[in-house]
């Protein structure tokens, strides 16, 4: 992989353009192997009550070394501005950085973001010095508003979380990529490698996924597939694809034919 093709967000530099979640794996050993196979250097985690009744249980951070990976806490499961802000503050208190993947969800069935709540929560957290990476809808206007209030990147969804539907609205994503001048991380809805490659070919700066890897029949193999898909998509984007045309253009010369 090209060592110079780094992604920088608010002074944090990332090697990998594939970011992965750490939920839904069979166990921590599988989580660790899948993350290694994916080549990701950013992993998302959730903030929850520590199990104090059974302390024999292992800790995720025994398997994922915070010195090796950027730990990106999220506010998953939060449906109100107050909850999201509370969880973000707890994440900062438990962790080591000001980074937070901000989620304010609007509905349990679709897990679509409540974008009005998202903007409100982002404003509060940015004022408190957080680096807010907002999980948002594929709405170019909301993406722009998030950037205007100080988000150093935006994370529009490809499709509902865990749906595996792939990119439902490529044109909106393209508009976001054209109109918003901060890194775009396509987050949620990826189903398989081609979805990830497509997101990168459109010009996404990174892709974040969890279920597509953890829920695959062979998560570690899928993690590796995603690594190459993101890399290939990135290279293709930088290489510049040919325009689509309705009719053929011969690739072999006519000259020299009998």
């Amino acid at each position: 992989m090209d060592a110079n093709d780094r992604l920088t967000i608010a002074g944090h530099e990332f090697r990998s353009r594939l970011w992965v979640g750490t939920g839904k794996y069979k166990d921590f050993a599988e989580t660790k192997k899948a993350i290694e196979a994916s080549g990701a250097d950013v992993v998302t985690v959730a903030v929850r009550r520590v199990n104090i009744t059974d302390r024999s249980k292992e800790n995720l951070l025994d398997y994922i070394d915070p010195k090796k990976y950027t730990i990106l806490p999220n506010t998953a499961g939060c449906y109100t501005v107050e909850d999201a802000v509370r969880y973000a503050r707890l994440a900062r208190a438990a962790g080591i950085s000001d980074l937070v993947k901000l989620e304010v969800l609007g509905d349990e069935r679709t897990l679509f973001p409540d974008t009005a709540g998202l903007i409100e929560a982002a404003k509060i957290l940015i004022k408190e010095g957080f680096i807010v990476l907002p999980y948002t809808n594929d709405d170019p206007i909301v993406a722009k508003k998030l950037v205007d209030i100080g988000c150093p990147a935006v994370m529009p969804l490809a499709a509902p979380i865990g749906s595996g539907l792939g990119i439902r609205n490529p044109y909106n994503l393209k508009i976001i990529m054209e109109t918003v001048k901060v890194p775009i991380i396509v987050d949620a809805g990826v189903g398989t490698a081609s979805d990830a490659a497509l997101a990168m070919e459109y010009g996404a700066d990174a892709v974040l996924m969890n279920t597509a890897i953890a829920g695959a029949q062979h998560p570690i193999a899928m993690a590796e597939a995603m690594k190459y898909a993101v890399y290939a998509g990135r290279l293709a984007y930088k290489a510049g694809r040919i325009p689509r045309k309705l009719y053929a253009t011969a690739s072999s010369p006519i000259e020299g034919m009998l």
Binding site: V20, G21, T22, G23, K24, Y25, D27, F28, T31, T44, V45, A46, V47, R48, R49, V50, N51, I52, T53, R55, K57, N59, L60, L61, I71, P73, N74, A76, G77, R89, L90, A91, R92, A93, A94, G95, E103, L105, L111, Y135, I161, G162, D187, A188, L208, M209, N210, T211, A214
Partner: protein, 82 residues
């Protein structure tokens, strides 16, 4: 022997000794202080104050840490999804 008081830890009632601090509680529970956030009666504590903050009757303590999570996760610190 210190007086026994009642506090709540992660939603569960728990007997505690008067004068015992947040740091004492974490150590009793075998929880590594550097990996958790502690909320005392909805106030998030600074880690460096764990040793100074003693717990009083009726205090509500929440101890939170990082678990496996992607986009949307529910459940308690074991990396499983609901």
């Amino acid at each position: 022997m210190a007086n026994e008081i009642q506090i709540q830890v992660n939603g569960e009632p728990r007997g505690w000794r008067e004068g015992g601090t947040v740091a004492d509680l974490l150590s009793d529970l075998a929880v590594a202080a550097e990996r958790v956030a502690v909320e005392l009666n909805l106030e998030i504590l600074d880690r460096k104050d764990f040793g100074q903050r003693s717990l009083c009757e009726g205090d509500r303590v929440e101890i939170l840490g990082f678990i496996g999570g992607g986009c949307e996760t529910k459940g308690e610190s074991d990396g499983r999804e609901r």
